[in-house]
Amino acid sequence: MGLENRNSGNVFRAGWFSLFTILALGLGLVASPALAKNPLLDKYPTAKVNTTGLAITDDVVTVGQLHSVSGTMAISETGSVEAERLAIKQINDMGGVLGRKIEIIQEDGASDWPTFAEKAKKLLVKDKVASVFGCWTSASRKAVLPIFEKENGMLYYPTFYEGLEASKNVIYTGQEATQQIIWGLDWAYKQGARTFFLVGSDYIWPRTSHKIARRHIENHLKGCKVVGEEYYPLGHTNFNSLINKIKLKRPDCIYSIVVGGSNVSWYKQLNAAGITGESLAKKNKLFLTISTTEDEILGIGGKNVAGFYACMKYFQSLDNENNKAFVKAFKEMWGDDSVIGDVTQAAYLGPWLWKYTVEKAGSFDIDKIAAASPGVEFKGAPEGYVRIHENHHLWSKARIGKMLENGQFEVLVESEDLIEPDPFPEGYK
C-alpha cells in the first residue's frame, strides 16, 4: 500500500522515467504472486513433503555445499564446487525440485578435517539443509560420516575412493575402487602387460586400491605378477630412488596412484629419467594411472604426460550429446579456460540425482530419499548414463584415455556394459 502511494506521487513529479518505474512495479505486483506461487504446491504441500523439519518452504529448498575453498585441497575441490553450482542453476532454470527453487548455503572445509566436521554439523543442525553436496578426500568424508549418520542428513560425495563403505546417508557419485581398477588392469593385460609395478601415495585409497589390484593381477590375470609396490607420503617430491627401482625391475606396466601436488614432481622426474609415453610405447610398455585427471594435468603440463594412460569413467573429450552440452554450459558459466576432470563430472551428477530421487520419493525426507535412491537413473549424465545401486554407489562405465600434449585425453576404449559397484569386494574378508 505504502509502496503504491509513494510511486504514484513520483509520477507527477518526474516524467517518463518514473512512469516506466511504476509500470514495471505494477506489472511486478500483478505478476509476483503468480510467479511466487509454486505450481506443484497443491500436489506437494510442504507439510507433506517435509515431515522432519528441514529448511523447506513453499517456494524454496535449502541445500548445503561443503568443500574446501581454502587450503591445499582448494585447487582440486573448486571444480566440484563449480559443477554443483552449474547443476543447481540448471535445475532452478527448469523449475526447481517439486516446484521449489534451490538455495545454497556454502561452507568452507578449509582442507582441515575437524573443520569439515564442524561445518557439517552446522549445516545439519543449525541450517537444517535438505541435502549436502560436498567433501573430496576420504579423510573429510570419514570425519563427517558419523555426523551425517547421527543427525540423519544426506551427503552426495563426488570422488572416486577406496570403497569399504556403504552408508544409508551417503550417495557415492564417484567410482569405488573395483570399478576403476579391474577393468583397467584387464585392458593393460590385453596390451601385453605381464609385470606390474604399483606406486602410490601413502594413505587409505592407494593402499586399498593396490590391494585389489594385486589380488586381481595375481589371481585372475594369467602369468602376471607384481614386481614392486611402493608408497610415498602425501606431498612427497623426490621420486628418483623409486625411478631407479622401476628401471631395475623393468615392469611392463607402471601402475600409479600418486595424488595431489606430488604428481608434478613424479611426472617431471619420470621424464627427466627418460621414461616418457613415447619411450615406453617403443618398448611395448605402458604407464597407467587412476589418479590423474584433466585438473592435475593443468598443473603438471601436457607435454610431461603425453602418451601415458588413465582409467576413469569420464573425460572432458568424451564424444556424446550430453557431454557436449555439459562442457558448453560449464565453460559459459566458469570461463573458457576451465577444464573438467572425472571428479568434477561426478560432482555435477549429485544435484541431479538428488532432484530425481526427491521426485521419485515425492518427499524431501531423508529416510524416504535413502529408500528411493536405488534405481534412480540420470539419462542426461555427461558420462552417458548412470543409475544408483542398492549400495548407494553408481553403476557406471570405465574408460581408458591417452594423455595428449594439450592436456586433454584421447578416449581409446570404454567398457561394454555398466560396471556394478562392489564396495566390499570378495576376497577382502
Binding site: V69, S70, Q106, E107, D108, A110, D112, W113, P114, T115, A117, E118, K119, K121, K122, V125, K126, T137, S138, A139, K142, A143, L145, P146, E149, K150, E162, L164, E165, A166, S167, K168, D202, Y203, I204, R207, T208, K211, P233, L234, F424, K429
Partner: protein, 387 residues
C-alpha cells in the same frame, strides 16, 4: 613493606575478581546465551585453551617459546581416542543402522586397522583397553615426550629461537609418524566415529551439556592450579630465568631442571585439553598435531596476553569465534579477515588483550571507583599503578 603487602593483596583481589568473571562467563553466561550447537563449539574452543594455559607457564613466565604445543595436546587426544575407538570396535556389532558391521571383519579391532590389513591388535594399543591406564597415559605419554626433549635440549643449554625451531620440527615428525603408521593410528583420516565412553553415549545433547561443564570446570581448575604454581617460589624462579638466566645459574640453581619442569607441566596441561577435545568432538585427526594448530595456540597467547592465565582464555575464544564466524559469513574470504585482525592486534597492543586491560583497565577502574566515590580504594589502586 606494608605498601608492598597491600599491593600484593590488591593484586590478588584483582586476580580473584577476573577469575570470578571468567567463571561466571563460562558457567553461567555461555550456557544461557548459546544453544547446544554453539555451546559444543565453545567446549571445543575451551579444550584448545588448555594448550594456551600451558604456554602461559612455559612461554609467558618461563620464556620457553614452544611452537609444538599442538603435539602434546594431540598426544593426549590420541590416547583417549584410542580407548574410545577400542570401545566402539567392541560395541560395534551391537549397534544397528550402520554398514560398518559389514566392513568390519574382526570384532574388537578398530575399523582402520582392518582396512590396513592388520589382523591383531598391536601391542602399543594394549594399554588403551583399560580406562584408568588410559587416563594415566593421557598425562604421562606427553609428559615423557616433553621430558625427553627437554632433557636433550635444555641440558645442552639450547634455548630461544633454536628451541622454537626444534619444537616446530617435532610437529613435522609427529605428523609424518601419525600419517605414515596408518595401521596403528588411522593415518590421515585420524581416529573417527567415536561414540561412547564407558557405555555413555557422548553424542547426545545431554552428554554434550555435561561435557561442556566438565571442560569449563577443568579449565578453571587448571587455571587455579597454574596460578598456585606461578605465584610460588618456583614461579618466581621461572620469571627470573626468563629475564636473567645467567644470574639464576650463578646463584647456584640448575636452570635446566626448572625449564624441563615447566615444559613438561605445559605439555601435560595441553594433553588434558586434547583429551577433552576428543570427548567433545568425537574424533581425532593428525591435522591437529601438525604445525598450523600449534601456531594457532601461540596466537591465542599473543592475542590474550602471554603472561595472563585468564587473558589467554579470552584470546582463544576470540580467535576461535572469529574463525568460525568469518568462515560462516564469508566462506571465500575469511582467511584474509583473520590475518588482518592478527596484524592489527599485534601492532596495536603487543602485550595482548591482558596488556590492554592492564594499561587502560586500571585507569578505567580507578575512574569508575572515583565515580562511585570509593576514594579510599581508588587511591590504593593508584599507588599500585604507580609502583
Amino acid at each position: 613493606m606494608k605498601l608492598l603487602e597491600s599491593g600484593v593483596v590488591s593484586e590478588n583481589r584483582k586476580h580473584i575478581i577476573s577469575f570470578i568473571i571468567l567463571a561466571a562467563t563460562l558457567l553461567l553466561v555461555f550456557p544461557l546465551v548459546f544453544d547446544i550447537f554453539r555451546l559444543n563449539l565453545v567446549a571445543k574452543y575451551l579444550s584448545l585453551a588448555f594448550a594456551a594455559v600451558g604456554l602461559v607457564i612455559c612461554w609467558g613466565h618461563g620464556g620457553i617459546l614452544s611452537l609444538g604445543q599442538g603435539v602434546f595436546w594431540g598426544l593426549g587426544g590420541y590416547c583417549l581416542a584410542a580407548f574410545l575407538k577400542l570401545e566402539a570396535a567392541v560395541n560395534i556389532a551391537n549397534e544397528a543402522g550402520t554398514d560398518q558391521i559389514k566392513a568390519l571383519t574382526t570384532v574388537g579391532l578398530p575399523d582402520f586397522m582392518d582396512w590396513n590389513q592388520i589382523t591383531e591388535l598391536p601391542y602399543i594399543w594394549y594399554p588403551f583397553k583399560s580406562f584408568p591406564i588410559t587416563l594415566i597415559c593421557v598425562l604421562i605419554v606427553p609428559g615423557i615426550v616433553a621430558f625427553i626433549i627437554g632433557l636433550a635440549i635444555f641440558k645442552r643449554r639450547v634455548s630461544g629461537v633454536y628451541f622454537a625451531i626444534i619444537t616446530q620440527a617435532l610437529c613435522w615428525i609427529m605428523e609424518i609418524l601419525f600419517v605414515t603408521r596408518q595401521g596403528w593410528t588411522g593415518g590421515i583420516n585420524g581416529i573417527t566415529d567415536l561414540r561412547t565412553c564407558l557405555g555413555w553415549d557422548i553424542r547426545t545433547q545431554a552428554a554434550q551439556y555435561t561435557l561442556y561443564f566438565l571442560t569449563a570446570g577443568l579449565l578453571l581448575a587448571v587455571i587455579l592450579f597454574s596460578k598456585k604454581i606461578l605465584s610460588s617460589k618456583l614461579g618466581q624462579l621461572l620469571v627470573a630465568i626468563r629475564d636473567m638466566e645467567d644470574r639464576v645459574r650463578f646463584s647456584g640453581y640448575d636452570v635446566s631442571n626448572f625449564k624441563i619442569f615447566s615444559f613438561c607441566l605445559a605439555a601435560m596441561i595441553s594433553a588434558v585439553g586434547g583429551a577433552l577435545f576428543v570427548l567433545n568432538v568425537g574424533f581425532m585427526s593428525p591435522k591437529l598435531v601438525t604445525i598450523a594448530p600449534s601456531i594457532y595456540m601461540v596466537i591465542f597467547c599473543a592475542l590474550g596476553g602471554r603472561e595472563s592465565l585468564i587473558g589467554v582464555v579470552y584470546g582463544t575464544l576470540i580467535v576461535c569465534f572469529g574463525r568460525t564466524y568469518f568462515s560462516e559469513q564469508f566462506p571465500e574470504l575469511w582467511m584474509f579477515l583473520m590475518g588482518g585482525i592478527f596484524i592489527v592486534v599485534t601492532v596495536a597492543c603487543p602485550k595482548g588483550l591482558a596488556g590492554l586491560f592492564e594499561s587502560h583497565g586500571a585507569k578505567a577502574l580507578a575512574f569508575l571507583k572515583k565515580f562511585l566515590k570509593i576514594e579510599n580504594l581508588a587511591s590504593k589502586d593508584k599507588k599500585e599503578v604507580e609502583a
